[in-house]
Subunit: 153 residues, 4 copies
């Protein structure tokens, strides 16, 4: 078992933290009636897409499509704390854990009200989609992440 | 970033280890042309289903459907080592890391030939699907896991 | 080939028609860089969930979870008119085509601006999720559908 | 409602027809405990991938990746005849309905034993993935389809 991720108390999230509500859909749920574990990552990927635009001022799809910047994952880790049920709204927060040379570490906890239901950690690796090789974080992305981190304190 | 999972060398897997090939499909892949990170977990879940039947002698679907045993995840963690491409065949091995009171820890590395492409760790939590509460690992499941572990040495 | 579905001109949709925007995500798209055909149905299912609440006044998830009303599909048909691209917003309209004894026919066209990009038709079959058999449309659902149809003219 | 697709009796399928078994997974199923309607199309897409290789002698992934031939869908239509349950094995048959100029019509019925559980119809449209425009069916694909049709009689 990997060391568990400890999500911060929701009440202690900084004012600048990007928080996005996601509604749990029928299609997210499995025969046990709860969110299928892999589907949580789809929701989180959508949250991260919007985070790029809203919090970093960089259009996620344009980065991929026009600048051919790959934003694939080097790591994905989730601790499932409470089952997610159809119709629930989960508020996901995006926290920057690490700005690396060619990667970016995020923690994404999800809350139902004040209760954490999931705590995820993701490492995004930047690549050149034409050359298919790792590249350094582009300067504008690095600067936007640093500014966001500052606003989250 | 969570501590990275170190997959064993394929050549050193014990003879009793359950290994299952999975073909990477068009539908597994994303606009970067590689397996979408969350889709790896779908493949792995299928591998675990078959592992229950083939290696433990317990029908996964019957456990859920007839015995109402929930086999949900408490943790899912993957390190993505190499991109997966359409048409590749990835061989997944299932290793038991821990047999707990009400949970079960698995490591699932995936290999393309001898090269590890993914290393995943999953914690399955046993629940009563009617009462919606955690329950101890059923005796037959515990015994089958212990016997499997023995065969993997 | 099934007879193609002809979506109405967007400009001619009645004022009462439920229209919902959906943003196309990275995870919806395939290695050709466009929405994977089956993923369109996930988007449409989400639109129909919200339609139940917003236009019919019936909580979709409560119908399934609390009243144990199955709202499965008897038919799903889509004509793909234009490729959907990451970042696009598609506006889906929900039109009632038929209120049957134990089923419900919907047409769901999707527009990018005024241009139709998809035209789908779905037949929802009402079932008793405990008895696993078809049942007649509940009276409140039937009445709400008839009232919605009226508002769409 | 679109005109329903009538699947052929399984016993009357020609000897040359490509038939492929697919096991229904936990991940295919929804909170009603049956296959989620859109997930059927994922299974069918996998069947069609294998059909290209096994019945037409053309590697599906190589067509897309190396020849940059798009094999997207212009239409997808399914009639859901019986619910699919976890653990079921469904045998899908692939029948050529039409070989067009720049498209290809398939009927894909699925059987559980002799009982049809789904009948699907798909129109594949051939495109140039670099130029993003429709192109005629390549000659080798056209010839392989005609030969397959012949063997199915």
């Amino acid at each position: 078992m990997s060391a568990r991720i400890t999500p911060p108390d929701r009440a202690r999230l900084g004012a600048g933290v990007h928080v996005a509500p996601v509604k749990i859909r029928f299609a997210h749920c499995d025969p046990a009636g709860i969110v299928y574990f892999a589907r949580w990552f789809d929701m989180i990927n959508g949250v991260i897409e919007d985070f790029f635009g809203a919090a970093l001022g960089l259009d996620y799809h344009a980065l991929i499509r026009d600048r051919r910047l790959g934003l694939g994952y080097g790591q994905a880790h989730a601790d499932y704390l409470k089952p997610g049920m159809m119709g629930d709204v989960v508020d996901f927060a995006v926290l920057v854990e690490r700005i690396g040379g060619a990667s970016l570490g995020l923690m994404v906890p999800g809350y139902r009200g004040d209760e954490p239901v999931i705590a995820a950690r993701l490492v995004i690796v930047t690549t050149d989609l034409n050359a298919h090789e790792a590249i350094r974080l582009p300067d504008d992305l690095r600067a936007a992440l640093a500014a966001y981190e500052e606003r989250c304190r």
